[in-house]
Amino acid sequence: MRPARPAVRFHPSRTVDFVVVGSGAAGGIIAKELATAGLTVVVLEQGPRVEPPQFEHDEIKTLFQSALQNNPAGFTFRRSASETAKPGQIQLLYHRLVGGGSVMFTANYWRFREIDFIERSRLGAISGTGLEDWPITYRDLEPYYTKAEWELGVSGEPGPFDPPRTRPYPLPPLPVKSSGVLFERGARALGLHPQPAPLAILSQPFNGRPACQHCGYCLGFGCEFRAKSSTLYTVIPMAEATGRCEVRPNSYVRRIEVDRKGRVTGATYFDENKKEQFQRARAVALCCNGSETPRLLLLSASSRFPNGLANSSGVVGKYLMFNGYSSSSGVFERPLNEFKSVTATRVLYDFYESDPKRGFYGGGAPDARSFAYPTIFALGGLPHDGPSWGAGYKRILRDYYTRTMNVDGHSTSLPLETNTISLDPDMKDAWGLPAMRVTYKDHPDDLAMMRFLQDRAIEILEAAGARRTWRQPVQETNLAAHLLGTCRMGDDPRTSVVDRYHRAHDVRNLFICDGSSLVTGGRGQPTATIQALAYRAGEHIAAFARRGEI
């Protein structure tokens, strides 16, 4: 089913009910929930609109030239506030185009578990950290996980440690890859409990979209088949089909405006010609992601909000969490051909919960993965202690390319007040605005948990019969695709930015719903939770609007 082309265009001077900033995993859902509830919506998206027929299997364009990342703005990085931030040194991976990160993500779709919402009361405070309970529980969010799975299309099968669910998965798991078979073999030999990895990728035709064709160009690429469940060709066309929603690409929001009464009045943005425009709205929802949303609030400081819009708590930009990550590889006797099909087909959750006996806080999960794009693998996929060029290198590459798999670890990041998004005092981005400044240092427990899962990954690969295993050394994070925690939810306006319905404590007609809302970062794969929060927020915001409570 071809998505309906937008039938409505609003002139910026027309006051729409809502401006939604960002059209990604959260923004697309919020726009659809509001538009289908009868509200008029303009979605301002920083990036262009790229449609599935334009997605290519081109490593140079997509991975090296950031064709999907479209990242002309720079940012600076430092480990702590005692240093001066410098450009580069870390890679923030997000995608500036309609659909955002939901276009190119791995599509791993893990629900949070009950423990994720109540770790502070279960484990006690962890000194020096901002570990807190959420203002909502798993049970509050469960109906919306279900809604997301059934509306967007998620494939999976319940596993032994799963939290309760009110409906089964709408689609059965994707077929297992050789990496999944070997992962299962090794895990079972160790007494662990592997299960199918839940994926927001269609294993069968669904809602007019075809099933995954196993093309292999998944993580980092857009899906030309529309089988990866991106908002681009699911909820966004549903929003547009109402005739009340316009998605306006190439619109870089620089400021949310407020009136004398402290209510937002709309968004000032640069249009595709870098000319300033102002879209009027009765209310605004920010869904930019966990780094762009706090930056926009800080850029929107005014005399009424000198520390940034909605920032009376001082918490905007703080408690940035990236999730922990590790990667290990194994080479086997016979071909696996991991260049085919999706990124991950098996996972195990035996290590999900934090175990005080380990001596550090942390939990997570290893999964069976591939990252076998030919150029990327040739550049860095082989063991680092071997030759990297020449006849010997070529021999190993020919032996290993089809016979290698990875086991990656995904784990917790503690929320630290000192890990932040702020505005750089010196550097400017491509539009002349203060660049984003990232301050981040992994907590020692986060690194300990990454190493713990890496050790388990090597054990699994060896138990599976790998001829040889090797690791990417665990070090301080220098690549972050999960951007979380920077406008955390809470009941107390002194220690949180939004309330339990994603309304800014300080501004009655401003809502924030994306990765910034998370109080704890989970064990990785936050998209399922971000999207469940977006469905829940959208429903409640629409109800507030109907009742005149905005």
């Binding site: 490593e59 071909p335 030919p374 040739a378 020449g390 089809t402």
Partner: protein
């Protein structure tokens, strides 16, 4: 955009980075065409550092083996000896990166001629596959 001398030198370097054995290497995959095209277009900002690095390499060739003038004129064993000594230099690292990208990127960029690079490693760009994908899931499916 490359002069014939520059092309010959870069082709020789690439052929040592990814040599020909009983299967095609960088020469057959026409990595030098990839380099020429890329440096004239999307990788233009790498052109000056790369060609400057090549000049320095050729300076080293002339210093070690006076009268040889250029890398491409060296016997293969001497080419290898020199590159091993230069392994850690930014120029060599840039050439290694460019050679491997030229071997395995889409043929539309000028390298990976006739998909030779992909065939060498066992990759196939079929765009759609069906299970079984590899030996282990095939074996598991038979065993069920």
């Amino acid at each position: 955009m490359l002069t014939p001398d520059q092309a010959a030198d870069l082709d020789a370097i690439a052929a040592q980075i990814f040599p020909t054995d009983d299967t095609p290497g960088a020469r057959e995959a026409r990595v030098v065409t990839f380099l020429d095209r890329s440096l004239a277009t999307w990788a233009a900002q790498q052109r000056e550092p790369l060609l400057h690095g090549l000049d320095e390499l050729n300076g080293e060739v002339e210093r070690r083996w006076p009268g040889t003038q250029r890398f491409a004129n060296l016997a293969p064993e001497r080419q290898l000896e020199l590159l091993r000594a230069q392994e850690q230099t930014p120029f060599f690292q840039q050439m290694r990166f460019a050679t491997l990208v030229g071997m395995f990127s889409l043929p539309a960029y000028g390298g990976n001629a006739d998909k030779a690079g992909w065939r060498v490693i066992g990759f196939e760009d079929r765009y759609a596959w069906q299970p079984p994908f590899g030996d282990y899931d095939a074996e598991a499916a038979r065993g069920r």
